[in-house]
């Protein structure tokens, strides 16, 4: 006999609800969360740009051997995917996704969920792609550690984009005025 689900909420998506995270800053929670998200975004962008600038100005250790590998367009693709995904996640109206009846038509809810799925898939694909680039381009070719740094930067860029999107989502959906929360 299982326990009765006392706090069952029919709006939620998962069986085990995610913990209701709050940033705990109090009244200015939303403002601080948005600032934190922007800072995380910029840190992510600059982490990758660091690798790109370092690669553009790389000098070989010895004069005889050339620089083995550079940051090319392949390294930029996962970041662009994550960026597009993050853009679409934040462009979706969050009231649509909750899907309450009598608020718009059901097609709009369906489309909003589809686009939300596509954008989350783009972000996850960007993260997976950056890990792919790290493994296939840098680790399998057995480059020295100064070149593997480019791959690590790529992965941390995508993690930063994802963290930024998560912080932005949490801080925007925990609006203090009406206290409705989107429980995923």
């Amino acid at each position: 006999m299982s326990l009765p689900r006392a706090d069952y909420d029919p709006r939620r998506v998962c069986v085990n609800p995610c913990p209701n995270l709050t940033l705990g800053v109090g009244r200015n929670k939303r403002t601080a969360g948005v600032y934190l998200a922007g800072a995380l975004f910029a840190i992510a962008v600059w982490t990758f740009l660091d690798a790109a600038i370092l690669s553009a100005h790389a000098k070989p250790a010895h004069d005889t051997e050339p620089v083995l590998v550079h940051v090319t367009f392949v390294d930029w693709v996962p970041g662009i995917c994550s960026l597009l995904g993050m853009l679409v996640v934040n462009l979706i109206d969050k009231d649509r996704v909750r899907g309450e009846d009598g608020f718009g038509d059901s097609k709009a809810v369906w489309r909003a969920r589809l686009f939300l799925f596509i954008s989350f898939a783009l972000m996850a694909g960007g993260l997976a792609g950056s890990v792919c680039v790290l493994i296939l381009k840098y680790i399998l070719n057995d480059y020295p550690e100064m070149y593997k740094y480019y791959g690590y930067c790529n992965v941390s860029q995508n993690i930063g984009f994802m963290l930024s999107a998560v912080v932005l989502w949490i801080s925007q959906s925990s609006s203090g005025e009406y206290e409705y929360n989107l429980t995923i």
Binding site: N28, T31, Y35, F41, A42, I43, W46, D50
Partner: protein, 131 residues
């Protein structure tokens, strides 16, 4: 308010001048003018908040936070501020500027941005009287 305001203005302008001095010195000592971008970044940093704050205040005058344009302004502001600190670090990491120039431009940029923040915080009451 007038005497304290005058002292505040003199102090803040002094700090601003020191900040710009540090940034320009970090460029001129090694004749590499890339750290001057830091000054430009920090001067532009309060601009998104200033622009988007007028967007949000029309419809939701009682609700001070909770509109999209205000959040966008804060997001862009945070991006620009972190850019101002990250740019010299990245440039120093790839040996384009010296580490000393990096430290000087970061301190100078922090002084400039702190001046702007302190100025807007100190004289916020004066603006709200005319609204």
């Amino acid at each position: 308010m007038a005497a304290a305001g005058l002292k505040t203005v003199i102090l803040l302008s002094f700090v601003l001048a020191v900040g710009f001095l540090l940034i320009i010195l970090s460029c001129a000592l090694w004749s590499n003018w890339l750290p001057l971008l830091v000054a430009l970044t920090f001067v532009l940093a309060p601009l998104p908040n200033a622009l988007f704050s007028h967007c949000g205040s029309e419809e939701f005058s009682t609700l001070e936070d909770g509109s999209g344009p205000l959040d966008l302004g804060r997001f862009i502001t945070a991006i620009v501020v972190v850019t101002g600190f990250a740019l010299p670090l990245v440039l120093a990491h790839s040996d384009i500027i010296r580490p000393a120039a990096c430290a000087m431009s970061i301190i100078g940029g922090g002084l400039v941005y702190g001046t702007i923040l302190a100025y807007s915080a100190a004289f916020k009451q004066d603006d709200s009287e005319f609204d």
